[in-house]
Symmetry: D2
Subunit: 153 residues, 4 copies
């Protein structure tokens, strides 16, 4: 957290963006699923993903695992936005409506609590027309380390 | 549930196996993730999946979404084993240990409760050496329809 | 749902208030814990309860069961506000901060989803000063019956 | 954890029993609800409670808050059995069948995972005849301190 002699401490928004960029670069799984990070902010993130043919069953309904994966990535970007390495400890999901082939899903994360090493986040997954597809609540746990240096030249 | 004049009613184990075969054939998502159904029985299922390069981040750790997907498929095979079309209503997952590139994950589902239209299932995801990777608890909801005809010629 | 010849159908707010009054009268448990219904509306409810000496341990911290009970009652008033008898199927709770002897706790319920026989509700439990004590998410299941006749003379 | 010169380190079972005795003495809430600790062991506990008139609604059905409270106390005894002060971070509960006035409920806790500061426990609440009333899964978080000195004279 200390500011170096040669650098200027990043503000929280710059830190959230730098953390997200560092995470996304390494996250081949989210990339491979076609997820795009629309925005990040301290404690928040918005991601989108289109339901592909390899994500659906024979009736064109998206497998719940891919809806969870989008919400889980969104959760990860939000809970790592403070540049402290943080992992998912547990999560729950309610499936409200099916998603279908070609649907553009948008997940938005909100930080409900952050104290000590743990946090609670809500992620809502919506369809392009706003219909809520799933509600996800995640519990995070901070481990050692940071994602990016906290100063810039 | 009534037995036709021309057929013999399947026993519960035969029905579980026929339901699983019908489901798996249509489930391009589980197939695409390389999931294999090891066994099914009334209220139970065991599936396996190997962690691939497209499931991990830059550090070789499996994205939680794929661990959830394996557990969720296992849950689906178990809760549809009675040949009544049943969907995931909600689920929770505890992540106990990371899975890594090349790990062979094995998920096993147990039916804890089934009454009216709803059921509760526990799914344990283990690594090839038996280490528990994740604990999943799913709530199912029975909708209309069956997976296969309940008689055979 | 049909309107009788002799009565006027209640509007949704009147129905919510009548349902709550009918429930509260029978709910000796919520009464015994000193819960007060501040307000109800379609899909919503606000209840309050003061932490008593018989709700705390030796260190003056409220037992989690009583915080859950307040949230669970609030959930029940919200999910029965449409005058369809509805029960708690499952719930999860995150404990954010301890409540102490004498704290006035306020629970507020919001309906996130309602479709078919099932619904999802969020309940936030706050302390008198607004500090969030617990987050509760409940899954409801509608059974047979109504709480009050839907017409009034 | 170090053994003093003058004492003998307690074995894990003795430590579980001493921790439970220290907790129960201070826990006026569990006492007030009539809970009895049947047994404790490292990572495990069994508690019982009879459904009283002040725990039921007008139809004689136990309020979910009291079922949760029994499970939550059982969870607390199990996760504190290692003599490290541990609190409930979150929990989920599935209500399987109603409990009624006069039912003797028995809760049994099992430790599913314990690593670092966090643990996962399953608690099953049964009726006197063995019928499962509720399934509870709790996430624990270890804080500072111990319940009893770890040596005896």
């Amino acid at each position: 957290m200390s500011q170096s002699d040669t650098g200027r401490a990043m503000d929280p928004q710059a830190l959230a963006e730098a953390s997200a960029a560092a995470m996304y670069k390494e996250d081949k799984a989210s990339q491979g699923l076609g997820m795009v990070v629309d925005s990040v902010a301290p404690g928040a993130a918005t991601l989108r993903m289109t339901v592909r043919a390899d994500m659906v069953n024979g009736h064109g309904t998206c497998h719940g695992g891919f809806i969870f994966a989008l919400a889980d990535s969104c959760f990860a970007f939000a809970c790592n936005s403070h540049n402290r390495v943080t992992v998912a400890q547990s999560a729950s999901i309610d499936f409200l409506a099916p998603a279908r082939l070609g649907d553009a899903l948008i997940a938005s994360a909100t930080e409900l609590a952050l104290g000590g090493r743990t946090g609670v986040y809500d992620i809502v997954v919506r369809r392009q027309d706003g219909l809520r597809i799933a509600l996800f609540r995640g519990n995070s746990y901070r481990v050692q380390g940071s994602l990016v240096p906290e100063t810039e030249l």
